[in-house]
């Protein structure tokens, strides 16, 4: 039982933090939001930091790191509310590395690690809500070639990604496929989402696809759990910075002739934010440290962590806006952007009520960190 970070891990944190502080200020981010919510140049910078290859094995040109390093990177990106979707890269590399045939791995993983290719998970469908086992997109095989048809929604950077990991029904079972955005029959329609990042509707019509795995639901569940651990870590980073911004504001803004940090009603709310942040940080550690555990244990841990994170993110985000007063609801000031990021994170890979249901359904007689 040890929650200290190694020297290498601290160095990774420093490197990412430095890049966020120096290379990703609020003005640069605002410009990216105004031009569509994604900047390939930024993504290349993430690759230069080695982050796009974080999960990719050394054999395929990556760093072969684990969930704790991923957590650290996501936390730091969260502090800067970075728009470019590293979580998607982590998910795609893990799924391909664990489940894809060797030829798919060797053709995609090195390019993912190097930042030349962006691969994202395209699983969301209208009507499926947060249930991974509800899927209408269908796959067909003819003459050794798979094709997929149907529509996926709210796909992160869907109109700029190079390929998608697509769950589709193959003979009644969910399988996972890799579909290139440039393949025939692929149509994308991009837009910005509430947090300023980019997404797209992805329509597939008899689009050529490569089979990743027939056991798609298992792989998809793993992908969603990696996504959840990323959300926990990113959320902690976002909240950490949100609280710091709020504390600074409370110590600067004056009313009734004194700084408003002197008012007990506001101080108690700040204390409650700190509580939510530390509970969330604890559960983010828990999520990342349980990510490699057997499925039942992992699923239970992710659901618990996401319930905590969802509760914390909503409270911290709403409180930060409230404590700022009028300036908190403007677009100009930074804090509303942190609030919107927290809101979007809570609703990605299952929302808080969904995860509460998962916790509820999985309860055993005894419960604790180790059970």
């Amino acid at each position: 039982m040890d929650f200290d970070f190694s020297e290498d891990q601290e160095q990774l944190r420093d490197a990412v933090r430095k890049w966020v502080d120096k290379g990703y200020d609020f003005e640069r981010r605002r410009a990216i939001v105004n031009t569509g919510g994604f900047d390939r140049g930024v993504y290349t910078e993430l690759a230069e930091l080695g982050l796009t290859g974080l999960y990719v094995s050394e054999e395929h040109g990556g760093m072969g790191m684990g969930p704790v390093e991923a957590m650290i990177a996501m936390e730091e990106l969260g502090r800067g509310i970075v728009l470019e979707p590293l979580a998607q890269t982590l998910i795609a590399s893990a799924v391909l590395q664990t489940h894809a045939p060797a030829d798919l791995q060797s053709s995609w993983l090195p390019r993912i690690a190097g930042g030349e290719a962006i691969v994202v998970l395209a699983h969301q469908e209208r009507g499926a809500r947060h249930h991974l086992d509800r899927c209408k997109v269908e796959a067909k095989e003819a003459g050794g070639q798979w094709t997929v048809s149907g529509t996926k929604s709210v796909v992160p950077v869907g109109d700029v990604a190079d390929a998608f990991i697509v769950p589709a029904l193959a003979g009644g079972q969910i399988a996972l496929f890799l579909v290139e955005r440039g393949a025939t029959g692929v149509k994308t329609e991009g837009y910005v989402t509430q947090d300023g990042s980019r997404a797209a509707e992805v329509a597939l019509s008899n689009s050529p696809a490569q089979l990743i795995t027939r056991d798609g639901l298992t792989a998809l569940q793993e992908a969603a759990d990696i996504g959840s651990a990323c959300i926990c870590a990113e959320g902690v980073g976002v909240m950490d910075k949100t609280l710091a911004i709020t504390a600074e504001y409370l110590n600067t803004r004056k009313q009734f002739g004194v700084v408003i940090a002197s008012f007990q009603a506001l101080r108690h709310r700040a204390a409650d934010m700190k509580m939510q942040l530390e509970l969330a940080r604890s559960m983010s550690y828990y999520a990342s440290l349980k990510l490699k555990m057997p499925e039942a244990e992992r699923r239970q841990a992710m659901a618990r962590a996401r319930y905590q994170l969802g509760t914390s993110m909503r409270f911290v985000g709403q409180s930060a806006v409230q404590l700022h007063g009028g300036i908190g609801v403007t677009d100009e000031y930074i804090v509303s952007h942190y609030f919107k990021k927290l809101t979007q994170l809570e609703m990605t890979f299952g929302d808080t009520l969904h995860h509460l249901g998962e916790v509820s359904a999985r309860m055993q007689d005894t419960a604790g960190v180790f059970a």
């Binding site: 101080r267 204390a271 905590q308 916790v359 007689d365």
Partner: protein, 393 residues
């Protein structure tokens, strides 16, 4: 970073588990698991068993006869005791006054008082709060006037937990009215059998007499019972409050009580009611999150890196959880938690409890009793003041 305990820590846990199961009397653990009333004898019996093994002062260093355990070992010991249904160690002697005597008492005081605390023979009480000094503890008025080789003590303490059983009491007394309130306080040990000490139990909202008023009417206390220096008592009291930071969260007991809540929910037919069950699920997440928070503190203490200044958070969250599980237990039983039959909370009561399940008898009383947790030990509002200082300065 690693969530798992080390093999050595796990071996230690197994050793504790085996010993506790072999030595904790079943008639006592049965009462704890069903929240039946514990007698002074129950608590003393367990204290003496631990004392004989050398574990009543489980937080003590070796030089004072303690086991010299690490923070993680202490946590594992607390966990095994709690899960097995051991009564909570009455903290006033071994957890509260003993560390002060070790740190600030003289050799003679250490030899005189520590053995009786370590063995569980002597029952200690805490004389801190007064009718006019709750959250503002530094305003204590109980006077101790030096007369030759004695102090003459006059005043009143209150909320003295289990003071009706007390044999000795450690008190914050006023020895000076000069300067700031904090600088005129002394830490005095008083034999409760002394002439002029009167203890009056206070009946609480649950019908139990858990706390007391303690009056001091010209009580003569030998000056040798003063700990450390006169007027330095506030410093010693703060040392006491900073001791055993994770203990206050009581997460291990919460884990045991969560199990009990699930048993009650099943027995009362609300386990399969989604609306109710989700409330249990929320509590389960709260408890896991609190446990992780406690483990983070332990890890920081183990490595000496990344010290975590979050004692206030542990107190707030731990106390809220204690209130919540008693609340849900009572709600699970619904109307069958309402009959107030005082004797039904005695183990072995032979009457018929309305609804037929005597396990429901203590639920409302437990709920009422637990309202204290967000009030004592520095109210949660005071804790929020402390936490806010770490955020806002």
């Amino acid at each position: 970073m690693d969530l798992a305990f080390t093999p050595e820590e796990l071996a230690f846990r197994d050793e504790i588990r085996t010993w506790v199961h072999a030595n904790l009397p079943k008639h006592i653990s049965d009462k704890v698991h069903s929240a039946m009333r514990l007698t002074r004898e129950d608590m003393q019996t367990w204290a003496r068993i631990l004392g004989k093994k050398g574990w009543l002062g489980y937080g003590w260093p070796k030089q004072f006869g303690g086991p010299g355990w690490t923070a993680v070992q202490k946590h594992l010991f607390e966990e095994e005791c709690a899960l097995a249904g051991a009564p909570r160690i009455v903290p006033f002697g071994p957890v509260m006054v003993a560390p002060v005597i070790m740190a600030f008492g003289n050799a003679e005081q250490q030899q005189r008082f520590l053995p009786g605390i370590a063995s569980g023979e002597v029952w200690w009480s805490q004389g801190y709060s007064e009718p006019g000094s709750g959250s503002d503890l530094a305003s204590v008025k109980t006077r101790a006037e030096r007369k030759g080789d004695k102090y003459i003590v006059n005043g009143q303490k209150t909320w003295t937990t289990l003071g009706q059983y007390g044999e000795w009491i450690f008190c914050l007394v006023r020895t000076s009215t000069e300067g700031k309130p904090q600088t005129g306080i002394s830490f005095l040990l008083v034999d409760m059998k002394s002439p002029g000490v009167t203890v009056r139990p206070i009946k609480l909202l649950d019908g139990e007499c858990e706390v007391n008023e303690v009056w001091f009417d010209n009580v003569e206390v030998p000056a040798e019972n003063l700990i450390g220096e006169e007027n330095k008592g506030w410093t010693y009291a703060k040392h006491l409050l900073s001791h055993e930071r994770t203990n206050i969260a009581d997460v291990n007991r919460a884990k045991r009580e969560l199990e009990r809540l699930k048993r009650i929910a099943k027995a009362e037919g609300v386990w399969d009611d989604t609306r109710f069950r989700d409330e249990i699920a929320k509590l389960e997440v709260d408890i896991v999150a609190l446990e992780m928070l406690v483990l983070r503190v332990l890890s920081a203490e183990k490595s000496g890196k990344n010290s975590l200044d979050i004692a206030g958070l542990l107190k707030i969250k731990g106390s809220e959880i204690q209130q919540r599980y008693t609340e849900l237990m009572m709600q699970a039983a619904g109307p069958f938690a309402l009959p107030f039959i005082f004797e039904a909370m005695e183990a072995g009561w032979q009457g018929n409890f309305p609804g037929g399940t005597v396990a429901n008898a203590p639920l409302a009383s437990n709920y009422f009793n637990m309202r204290k947790t967000t009030i004592y030990g520095g109210s949660n509002e005071v804790q929020r003041n402390i936490v806010s200082q770490t955020v806002l300065g």
